[in-house]
């Protein structure tokens, strides 16, 4: 999962990539790449439109899994959520961020919105962080 997200971030560099995380009990079984449909400039923004959101939720159901959250890249920026990320976040979702510096994927982190929307808390991302494997990964608070 992590390797696929890194590759996606490198492919779309210098633009942001985005996609859905599908799994169960925090274990990620699929990272589904989605089109970045932002009209505000894809170097600094991403947008998953409602029709793609619906498709991702349906795909999770079809796999007998759940929609765990979403990932996106920060081109030439650290893997930390921005104020814009916070302002637009949904609760109870994992937000995976991969930093892509000069075209090469670096740090990857996962974040969860606090219920009062005041900030993100960093979660734990386990699995194939530093390898090229596509083995299962997990995300949790």
């Amino acid at each position: 999962m992590a390797a696929a997200i890194r590759r996606h971030g490198e492919e779309t560099f210098p633009h942001e990539c985005c996609g859905a995380l599908i799994g169960r009990d925090d274990g990620v079984v699929a990272a589904v790449p989605l089109p970045n449909t932002t009209e505000e400039g894809p170097r600094r923004r991403f947008l998953v439109r409602p029709s793609d959101y619906r498709m991702a939720e349906q795909k999770a159901t079809d796999l007998g899994s759940e929609l765990l959250g979403f990932y996106h890249s920060h081109p030439d920026h650290p893997a930390r959520p921005s104020q814009f990320d916070l302002d637009h976040a949904w609760p109870n979702f994992a937000y995976v961020i991969v930093s892509v510096m000069s075209g090469a994927a670096r740090d990857m982190t996962v974040w969860y919105l606090q219920d009062d929307r005041s900030r993100f808390d960093e979660g734990t991302l386990n699995g194939d962080q530093d390898s090229d494997s596509d083995s299962a990964s997990s995300v949790h608070r």
Binding site: P50, P81, S82, A89, P91, D115
Partner: protein
């Protein structure tokens, strides 16, 4: 008059994990007031500090976005299905 409302994954913890709930009202606006009265945890995530629907919250009546109908004044009936559909946005 009760109308079915489909709840997206991130909001289900506030509706006792239900994927679909019912609320009453003659318009989408009235329905959402009833919904957020019954399930108060939804309010902060659907509305901003000014009491307006957040920009990344999309409300569909059957398959149409209410922004292209009469917004929160859009009439609803018991045979309609309302969906709350997220846009997911962010950036650096």
């Amino acid at each position: 008059m009760a109308t079915k409302i489909l709840i997206p994954t991130p909001l289900r913890p506030y509706t006792d994990k239900q994927e679909a709930v019912e609320a009453s009202g003659a318009t989408v606006g009235e329905l959402l007031v009833d919904l957020t009265t019954k399930y108060s945890g939804l309010k902060a995530h659907l509305y901003n500090e000014q009491g307006k629907l957040r920009s990344f919250v999309n409300i569909y009546i059957n398959d149409e976005d209410i922004r292209y109908l009469q917004k929160d004044q859009t009439p609803v009936s018991a045979t309609d299905t309302i969906s709350i559909i997220p846009s997911v946005a962010g950036g650096v």
